[in-house]
C-alpha cells in the first residue's frame, strides 16, 4: 500500500510555481475547479517510490489576508483541506516581498518546504540563499530550484517526502510580547487543544473570543488590530530576509528596465504594440495554412481511402461505408484538419503571456481604454479571449470591482476564438479573393461590437466611476520552448478530445437524422431537412436559405466548429463516392514529402512582410464545391458575422452563468443573438446590393 501525500503549492504571482509543478508532475497535470467556486484549479499526480503524491497549485497571492477571491481560496484550502506539506515557492530575487506570505504560511504550523526558485536570476544578481541557516532558524528544509531547466526539482521532491514522513511543524513564529500574551490568553480561554497561530490571529482580529485582547492592544498601540498584526508580520518577514539572504555587491545590468524604456514608451510602445499584434495575426495564419492543407490531404486523400478500402475488404456494407465517409471523414475529420491552426494560435498566445508582455499591454492601453470607461487591466481577459472565451471569462476575477468584471465579461464573447477562425478561414478562402482581409475585418468587427456594448452598458446599467487598479509587471523572460509546447499540447489534446466526443456525437446525430426515415431516396425529405426548414424563416432574412445550413447551426450551439463537421456530414452525402483505390507505399511516401514541403512553406511564408497565405487554392475539392453552391459571397459574409457575434458556445454560456448568474448569461445570450442577427441582416442586404 502506497502512502499518499497531499502537497499544497503556495507563492506570490509570477514566481514560477506552475512551471515547477510542471517539472514535478509532468504531463499528469490537470485543470479542475475548486469546489464551490469557479476558479481554475491546477493539480497534478505523481507516483514516486512508495508514495502517491497529489499536488495542488494554490492561486498566486501576495498575502493570506482575504482581500479578494484568490486569497479566500488559498486560506480556505489550507484550513479545510489540511494538506500534509506546504511548499512555499519564493522568487529568490524578490524574497523580501515574498517572505510576508512565508510568515503567514508558517503560522499554520504545518510541515513546510521552502523552494527558492529562479536561482539562476538570483546568482546573476549576486543573491545567495543560506539554506543551512534556514534549517537552523525555521527547522524546515530550503531547496534552491530553477524552474527553467528543472534544476533542484529532484531535491525538492525528496524534501517534500521527508517533510511528510517527519511530520514536524516548523519552529513557531514569535511576534512581539504584547501580541504573544494576547494570543496566549485567547488560547487559554478556548481551553481544549492547541490552536494554530493563524487561527488565533483571526480570533484576535474578530469580535468574538479575542475581543477583550483586541481592545487592549488597539488602546495601547493606538492603531487598528489589522495594522498591528501586519506590522508584526512585516517585522518578522524582514528578519527572515536579513537572516537568510546575502547580497554581494554586483553591477547588475537590468534587461527589463532597458526593454521597458522602449516597449512602454508613450509613442514607440504603442507602435510596437500594433506591430506585435500584426505579427501574431500573421504567424497564426501563415505558419498554419500549409500544414492545414497537408492535414486535409492526409485525411481525405490517404487515411480516409485507406480505412475505406480496409472496411471494404472486411466485407462492410454500403451502410457502414456511408457512415464512415460522411460522419467520420466528412464530419470529425473535417474539424481535425484545423489542428495546426489551433496549435499555432495557442503557441503565439503562450509566448505573449509567458514573456511578460501581456500585463504591459494593460498598462499601455489603459490610456485609451479608460476613456471608454474600461479598465486597462481588463484587456488581459480580452486578449485571452482570442485563445478561448472560457478561461477568459474566468480571468475577469482579477478585476477588483464587480462592475468592471461584468463589463469585461460582456465583451469577451465578441473576441473571436480559434473555433470561429476555423469557420472563417474555410468560408473566406472559398468566397473572397483576399481572405486575410476579410478575416481581419471580422476580428475587428467583433472588437468594435464589444466596445460598443461596453460603452452603452457603462452609460446605463453599470454607471459609475472607473475603479483604480494595481498590478505587477513581471520581468521579461524568454519562455522555455519545452514548457510552451507542453501548454500547446494540452490545448490540442483538449481539442482532439472534443473532436472524439462532442463533435463525433454531433456528427452521428446529424448523420442519423439525415438518414431518417430509413430507406430514404432524397435527402431533402429527411428528418434533418425537416428540422432545418423549420428554423429557415428566421434565418432567411440574413441570407441563409438552405436547410442544410440551418440544420448545421443547431448542433453548433455546443461549439462553433461543429457547424463545419455537421455541414461536412450533410454535404459529403452528396459528394459522389469515387471509391478510388490507393496504393499504400507510394501514397505514404507522397504524404511524407507533402509534410516536408508544407513545413518549408510555413517557415518561408513567415519572412514575407504581408499575410501571404489564405489564397484561394482549395478549388477542386468536391466537398468545398458542393458547399459553395449554397452560398453567395454576401450570404457567406452574413453567415460568418452571425457565427462571430452570437454566443454559439455552450461552454462560454455555462461559465458566464457560473461567474455571473443564470440571468446574466441567458440575457447576454439573447442579446448576442439579436445583435448577430441585426448586423448580419444589414451586411447581407448591403452586400447583396453591391
Amino acid at each position: 500500500m502506497k502512502k499518499s501525500i497531499k502537497v499544497a503549492f503556495a507563492g506570490n504571482p509570477n514566481v514560477g510555481k506552475t512551471t515547477l509543478l510542471n517539472h514535478l508532475a509532468g504531463t499528469n497535470l490537470s485543470v479542475g475547479n475548486w469546489p464551490g467556486v469557479t476558479v481554475e484549479k491546477r493539480e497534478g499526480f505523481l507516483s514516486y517510490k512508495d508514495y502517491d503524491i497529489h499536488f495542488i497549485d494554490l492561486p498566486g497571492i501576495y498575502t493570506l489576508e482575504p482581500l479578494s477571491e484568490d486569497e479566500w481560496i488559498a486560506r480556505n484550502f489550507l484550513i479545510e483541506e489540511d494538506p500534509d506539506v506546504i511548499v512555499n515557492v519564493i522568487e529568490t530575487t524578490n524574497a523580501d516581498r515574498d517572505f510576508l506570505l512565508t510568515t503567514e504560511l508558517l503560522e499554520f504550523g504545518k510541515p513546510m518546504v521552502l523552494a527558492f526558485n529562479m536561482s539562476d536570476e538570483a546568482s546573476r544578481r549576486g543573491i545567495e540563499v543560506d539554506a543551512v541557516h534556514t534549517v537552523e532558524l525555521l527547522d524546515i528544509p530550503a531547496v534552491k530550484t530553477n524552474g527553467r531547466n528543472g534544476e533542484g526539482v529532484d531535491e525538492l521532491l525528496d524534501s517534500i517526502i521527508s517533510a511528510s514522513d517527519r511530520n514536524h511543524p516548523p519552529k513557531p513564529v514569535v511576534y512581539g510580547e504584547r501580541v504573544e500574551n494576547a494570543l496566549r490568553a485567547i488560547e487559554a480561554g478556548k481551553g481544549n487543544g492547541r490552536i494554530d497561530k493563524h487561527a488565533l490571529l483571526e480570533l484576535l482580529s474578530g469580535n468574538d473570543a479575542g475581543i477583550e485582547q483586541k481592545v487592549d492592544l488597539e488602546k495601547f498601540y493606538r492603531n487598528k488590530i489589522g495594522n498591528i498584526i501586519s506590522d508584526e508580520r512585516y517585522a518578522y518577514a524582514n528578519g527572515l530576509h536579513q537572516e537568510i539572504l546575502r547580497k554581494k555587491k554586483m553591477s547588475s545590468r537590468d534587461v527589463t528596465d532597458k526593454l521597458d524604456k522602449v516597449l512602454l514608451h508613450p509613442i514607440f510602445g504603442f507602435l510596437i504594440f500594433l506591430a506585435v499584434m500584426f505579427l501574431l495575426f500573421k504567424i497564426s495564419f501563415d505558419f498554419s495554412t500549409p500544414l492545414m492543407t497537408w492535414t486535409q490531404n492526409l485525411i481525405t486523400g490517404f487515411l480516409g481511402p485507406l480505412a475505406a478500402s480496409a472496411l471494404t475488404s472486411l466485407g462492410a456494407g454500403k451502410w457502414v461505408l456511408g457512415f464512415f465517409s460522411q460522419a467520420i471523414v466528412g464530419g470529425v475529420g473535417f474539424v481535425v484538419t484545423f489542428v495546426p491552426l489551433i496549435a499555432t494560435i495557442y503557441l503565439v498566445l503562450a509566448y505573449l503571456e509567458m514573456s511578460g508582455y501581456m500585463p504591459r499591454i494593460a498598462f499601455l492601453m489603459d490610456r485609451f481604454m479608460h476613456k471608454l470607461g474600461l479598465h486597462g487591466k481588463g484587456i488581459i481577459p480580452l486578449l485571452l479571449g482570442f485563445g478561448c472565451n472560457v478561461p477568459a471569462v474566468m480571468a475577469t476575477r482579477t478585476l477588483e470591482s464587480k462592475k468592471d468584471k461584468l463589463l469585461v465579461m460582456t465583451m469577451i464573447p465578441f473576441m473571436s476564438c480559434p473555433a470561429r477562425l476555423v469557420v472563417f478561414s474555410f468560408f473566406a478562402i472559398m468566397f473572397f479573393p483576399h481572405p486575410a482581409v476579410v478575416i481581419f475585418a471580422l476580428y475587428l468587427l467583433g472588437i468594435i461590437i464589444g466596445l460598443i456594448t461596453a460603452f452603452f452598458l457603462r452609460k446605463t446599467a453599470f454607471r459609475g466611476k472607473l475603479s483604480h487598479f494595481v498590478m505587477e509587471l513581471p520581468p521579461y523572460r524568454v519562455p522555455r520552448t519545452k514548457t510552451v509546447l507542453k501548454i500547446v499540447w494540452v490545448q490540442v489534446k483538449n481539442f482532439l478530445a472534443r473532436a472524439g466526443t462532442v463533435i463525433f456525437a454531433a456528427s452521428v446525430v446529424v448523420w442519423v437524422l439525415l438518414n431518417t426515415p430509413p430507406g430514404l431516396k432524397n435527402q431533402s425529405d429527411s428528418a434533418a431537412a425537416y428540422i432545418g426548414r423549420a428554423i429557415t424563416p428566421v434565418l432567411e432574412p440574413i441570407g441563409i436559405k438552405d436547410w442544410r445550413i440551418s440544420t448545421s447551426l443547431i448542433p453548433a450551439f455546443l461549439a462553433r466548429e461543429i457547424v463545419l463537421s455537421s455541414m461536412g456530414t450533410i454535404y459529403s452525402a452528396e459528394v459522389p463516392q469515387t471509391g478510388k483505390e490507393i496504393e499504400f507505399w507510394p501514397a505514404l511516401k507522397s504524404q511524407i514529402e507533402g509534410l516536408g514541403s508544407a513545413i518549408e512553406e510555413s517557415v518561408v511564408s513567415l519572412f514575407s512582410p504581408t499575410i501571404t497565405s489564405l489564397q484561394a487554392d482549395s478549388e477542386n475539392q468536391n466537398l468545398v464545391s458542393v458547399i459553395r453552391s449554397s452560398f453567395t459571397p454576401a450570404s457567406a459574409l452574413s453567415f460568418m458575422i452571425f457565427l462571430l457575434l452570437y454566443t454559439s458556445c455552450l461552454a462560454t454560456v455555462a461559465v458566464m452563468a457560473r461567474e455571473a448568474g443564470n440571468k446574466f448569461a441567458i440575457g447576454f445570450l439573447g442579446y448576442s443573438l439579436v445583435i448577430a442577427w441585426v448586423v448580419a441582416f444589414a451586411v447581407y442586404h448591403i452586400g447583396s446590393i453591391i
Partner: protein, 95 residues
C-alpha cells in the same frame, strides 16, 4: 464626472503648484519619471492599501518612477515593478 477624470489624467504639476504649503504631505502621485522617493505611510489603511503593501510597496521602501502613462504610474521597488493608478498613488505619502 467626466471633468474630474480628465483632471486626474493630467500630470500633477498643477496640483503641486496650487498647494505648495510647507506642511503639505507629498504623495507618490506627484512624482515625475526618474524621481526617487521613500514611502512614509498610507493615508488610508484600507484593503487595497494592504494589497499594495503586500505587493512590496511598504513603509520605508525606496521607489523609482519608471514611466507614467495616462492615469497609470509604473514604479520599481527592490526588484519588483508595480503599476498603480493615480487615485491609489495619492494615498501613498512619500518623502
Amino acid at each position: 464626472m467626466k471633468l474630474k477624470t480628465d483632471r486626474d489624467d493630467k500630470a500633477s504639476t498643477s496640483d503641486t503648484l496650487l498647494s505648495k504649503g510647507p506642511n503639505r504631505k507629498r504623495t507618490l502621485k506627484e512624482l515625475e519619471v526618474g524621481d526617487v522617493a521613500y514611502i512614509v505611510d498610507f493615508s488610508d489603511h484600507n484593503d487595497i492599501a494592504k494589497k499594495i503593501e503586500a505587493m512590496g510597496l511598504r513603509r520605508g521602501k525606496k521607489v523609482v518612477v519608471l514611466q507614467r502613462l495616462g492615469r497609470g504610474i509604473l514604479v520599481k521597488t527592490s526588484n519588483s515593478r508595480i503599476v498603480l493608478t493615480s487615485d491609489l498613488a495619492k494615498n501613498i505619502e512619500i518623502k
